[in-house]
């Protein structure tokens, strides 16, 4: 397995505006480095404001970091221009939490899937339709959904459709930013199983995307990923194999997330008042 995507020492600041007085810079990423192997499954976990979504945006070339480098297929993504980015973006795809706002509400499921293929201008109409039906099958959606309005689908179906669209251009990296968080647990389980199927180790490394799951839910991240990165206040505070993070966590932030995922009986009376 070769290294696919390497981020080194990423720094990203956002200006936080106030009604009166000067703006204050918020350092969302403060020297973050990650390495993603081809076909790997990696979970990036942390509480709100830990910088995990900013990291996802930088890796997907949606945001440019203020400093640091992102190497992907021998190119530094922080230095390439817009036209080069257009070539790279199809290979690194992003799926968001809110699938309801991810599609044009007037599109049918089929149009949603054909749109990225149209932009690539490589297939004709019949081939696009064929590929669209293929994609539906790959994410476990029935073919008769093809002509339904995207806005009529259930939450779980929409999130599968979002994953199908992300897969349309055969990306090398699939980044999911809290893509399971808004779903009911029974639906979460189905989508999680889909991610496990897509990244099935039985397939050749070249044929399966690397999965990057951004989440505050450590139990789910542990189920899907082989390695886990824990973030807090813009920094990576712990990383390691899933077994190590779950079984032998060292950092307080990791233990806090672990505690939140394992239920909280008996902890009420031990903790100081909030």
């Amino acid at each position: 397995m070769g290294v696919l995507l390497t981020a080194e020492n990423l720094v990203k600041e956002y200006a936080s505006r106030h009604l009166r007085g000067r703006g204050v810079a918020v350092r969302a990423l403060d020297g973050v480095s990650v390495e993603i192997q081809a076909g790997a499954r990696i979970g990036i976990v942390g509480a709100s404001g830990s910088g995990k979504s900013t990291l996802a945006f930088c890796l997907a070339c949606v945001e440019r970091p203020d400093s640091g480098t992102i190497r992907f297929l021998n190119r530094d993504l922080t230095r390439v221009d817009e036209s080069e980015l257009r070539e790279i973006r199809p290979q690194i795809q992003l799926v968001f939490q809110d699938s309801a706002s991810a599609f044009n509400p007037k599109f049918t499921a089929g149009e949603v899937l054909e749109e990225p293929l149209k932009l690539q201008r490589k297939l004709n109409a019949a081939e696009r339709r064929e590929r669209g039906v293929e994609l539906l099958e790959r994410v476990g959606l029935p073919g008769n959904i093809f002509d339904r309005q995207a806005s009529d689908l259930s939450g779980g179906q929409r999130q599968r459709l979002a994953i199908a669209r992300a897969l349309a251009l055969e990306p090398k990296v699939l980044i999911l930013d809290e893509a399971l968080s808004a779903l009911d647990y029974s639906v979460q389980a189905q989508v999680a199983n889909l991610l496990l199927d897509l990244s099935d180790k039985a397939a050749a490394t070249a044929e399966r995307p690397a999965i990057v799951l951004i989440s505050h839910d450590l139990a789910m991240a542990a189920r899907i990923s082989d390695e886990i990165v824990v973030m807090e206040s813009g920094r990576i505070v712990e990383r390691g194999s899933t077994e190590k993070i779950v079984g032998d966590a060292e950092h307080a932030a990791t233990r806090e997330l672990l505690a939140c995922s394992t239920g909280m009986s008996a902890k009420f009376d031990q903790r100081p008042a909030v």
């Binding site: 009604l19 509480a47 709100s48 404001g49 259930s154 939450g155 009911d184 647990y185 029974s186 639906v187 979460q188 389980a189 189905q190 999680a192 199983n193 496990l196 099935d200 180790k201 505050h216 839910d217 450590l218 139990a219 789910m220 542990a222 189920r223 082989d226 899933t242 077994e243 779950v246 079984g247 806090e256 997330l257 672990l258 505690a259 939140c260 995922s261 394992t262 239920g263 909280m264 009986s265 008996a266 902890k267 009420f268 903790r271 008042a273 909030v274």
Partner: protein, 327 residues
């Protein structure tokens, strides 16, 4: 235990403009005792939010209450006039929602917004109101209370805003707080802090809480009782520990298994997949004569598609809507 709220045989239907009525709540019975925390566990479309909204008759315009009563300390809230109902809302029963930001005015300091609730319910002097708000903020925020009082909503985090919404909801000292997915938009750490705050308020103010959620693990160690809903019906009702440890209804059992737990073996690939509930979510516009969960149930029997099971009492004081336990 003194009975506080008694929801009797409540049925609610939505009438969408295009026709095709949706039967969102089908004969729900629910009792809450004083100072008790009852968790309502269910997925999208189970009727849990409809149950919450109908207690205070805050249903959307196309929602119709077909039958039933909501009795709060002897008074049926469904029979009250509008002005009488407004006195109950906020002072005896209040409500918090998923998005606290949307419940707050963006341009008014949050302390004043809490005070506003006291003013709307009349009575006390300005000083007394201010004192009551300060006292409440001390309880909720400790040392930060002063700064929080003078903050605007955008200066606060999601968790802090939800705590402000809670302060607004309880400043008139209601007996019952209905919390409809109050932590769904928060991360897991903040989520737990909110739940701990509610537990503290229950203890110190004898506040009963109806806590609506789709996350079973939030209810562990928090709820006294759990009510599980599926397709507009209560399918299981019992002591929280017993429902979570040994669920009786096949749906509850399947739902709890969907949630991955930590520390499972990851080496064998088959083990890594999460158990799912087979089949589709129920269609609420149809009324089948059998059990609503029957098409997805692993334990189905012949009787399940012939009659709708009632809530059968089981030995430990719980109730289960399943023919495995009676009929």
């Amino acid at each position: 235990m003194e009975l506080l709220l008694d929801v009797q045989n409540l049925s609610v239907r939505y009438r969408p403009p295009g026709g095709g009525d949706v039967f969102a709540l089908r004969g729900a019975n629910l009792q809450i005792a004083r100072g008790q925390i009852v968790g309502v566990l269910g997925e999208s479309g189970s009727g849990k939010s409809t149950l919450a909204a109908s207690v205070l008759t805050l249903l959307p315009a196309n929602g119709v209450i077909d039958a039933g009563a909501v009795v709060l300390q002897g008074t049926n809230l469904l029979e009250l006039e509008r002005d009488e109902l407004e006195r109950v809302r906020g002072s005896k029963v209040s409500l918090i929602f998923q998005e606290p930001g949307e419940a707050l005015h963006p341009m008014i300091r949050v302390g004043e917004q809490i005070e506003e609730v006291l003013r709307a319910h009349g009575g006390e002097s300005k000083e007394a109101r201010r004192g009551a708000v300060r006292e409440l903020l001390d309880l909720i925020f400790g040392g930060e209370a002063e700064r929080i009082y003078f903050s605007y909503p955008h200066q606060l985090s999601g968790g802090q805003r939800q705590r402000i919404a809670i302060a607004q909801a309880i400043v008139c000292k209601p007996k019952l707080l209905i919390a409809d997915e109050p932590t769904a938009s928060l991360d897991s750490v903040t989520r737990r802090e909110i739940v701990e705050l509610l537990k503290k308020l229950q203890r110190e103010r004898e506040l009963a809480i109806l806590f609506i959620t789709h996350s079973a693990e939030l209810l562990e160690g928090f709820a006294d009782r759990i009510v599980v809903m599926y397709a507009g019906q209560i399918v299981e009702d019992g002591d929280a520990k017993k429902v979570l440890k040994a669920p009786r209804h096949p749906y509850t059992e399947a739902l709890l298994k969907c949630r991955p737990t930590l520390g499972l073996g990851k080496t064998v690939r088959e083990d890594q997949r999460i158990p799912v509930i087979a089949g589709e979510a129920p269609d609420l516009s149809a009324r089948s004569k059998g059990c609503a969960f029957e098409p997805r149930c692993a334990d189905r029997m012949k009787i399940c598609c012939e009659r709708t099971p009632e809530l059968f009492e089981i030995e430990n004081g719980g109730k289960v809507r399943c023919f495995k336990f009676g009929g």
